[in-house]
Amino acid sequence: MAFLTIPHIRIAGLAATVPRNKEQNACYHWISKKERESLIKNIGVETRRIAPKGMTTADLCVVATEQLLKELDWDRAGIDLLVFVSQSRDYLVPTTACIVQDRLNLSHACIAYDISLGCSGYVYGLAAASSMMKSGAIKRALLMVGDISSITASYRDKSTYPLFGDVGTVTALEFREETSPWHFNLQTDGSGYKALMIQDGGARNRMSRKSFEVKKVSKGIHRSRLNLELDGIEVFNFSLREVVPNIKNLLSHTGSTLDLIDYLVFHQANRLINETLRKMLRLEPEKVPYSLKDFGNTSGSSVPLTMIVSLREEMQKRKLNLLLSAFGVGLSWGSVLLETDRVCIPELMEL
């Protein structure tokens, strides 16, 4: 099992930027009023932020980072690592992290690379960045996690369009000897890769005229091979099968229990999935914060966004024991147990 224990890292700051543009699921007229109401109630999403044409994940992350660096009063020259986790990068080539390194005027001594992961991306990003930092050679790092999922969701696909929202986040990480170690449990099952995928445009199925043809797949689901496909039942059963054992194994591996955790922050998949997971773990609602209602499923950035919109004050003021758990496209999932202490969190920004 991929249990990682990583010492000496702390979250110094956390920030997010969302597009100013809002869409209401109550106005999603592709489906009937009754179906809309059932969708809003069960999926738990009322409003989503949608990036206008030309705005990218990197744009949102850069705005968040500028503000965070100002509030942290960090010297840019001291940032030696930039990890950008997204499935909506600026270009197919080159790596978005390189472009962002320059936009932020970071030093040429800075390591920068992308990780292509979606829903599980925050936990994986924390693991990748902290692993590189733990020796102490890198003192400060930026982890950007975000997605503009609205680009790939077809309006005429009720299984994806009303679910996803756009956001870019940044987490400032710092090497600090005296912090308690982080514990990760990371897992993968690529046999389920078809449950969430975009068929064409990569090297396997090159983009062609056929890629753009919109086809009716089933009632209320029309999409092209460049749109995101989501097999709801597969994803649902995957989440209910894997997430709880992943968390329980992490807890028993580290000798911890859910009672010792202040909050369990889940990836915001949808309300039905998250509430079922919460009930399976017998956790009271107060311990499981949400950001779904106002922002939708925000892919890899849903965990940091939820911390910012639901736990901001507490995270700024006191020490918290957090369990973060994220799961989805890949299929890829993981959880991390970590302590935060007086994190710098600017107010949620809009672009």
Partner: protein, 78 residues
């Protein structure tokens, strides 16, 4: 478990259904306005109450609530 309890649990889960609306032989697709969300609600309820996973394939093969009940019964860990 018994089928009466199972049916009551379904009736509780779906706002549209009045108590007594469902029978074991009820073809569930006709009684519910069957869509993917209702499928997820049913799957979530079965997982929470019985710790049993119902797949898309199970739903396709099932016609009545009795059929689903048998699937659950056969998978409950004894």
């Amino acid at each position: 478990m018994n089928i009466e309890t199972f049916i009551k649990q379904i009736e509780d889960e779906f706002d549209d259904l009045k108590p007594g609306a469902l029978k074991p032989e009820t073809p569930f697709r006709e009684k519910f306005e069957w869509n993917s969300i209702n499928a997820l609600i049913l799957i979530a309820m079965v997982k929470t109450e019985y710790d049993v996973t119902i797949t898309a394939d199970d739903l396709i093969k099932s016609k009545t609530l009795q059929d689903i009940y048998y699937i659950i019964e056969s998978r409950i860990q004894k």
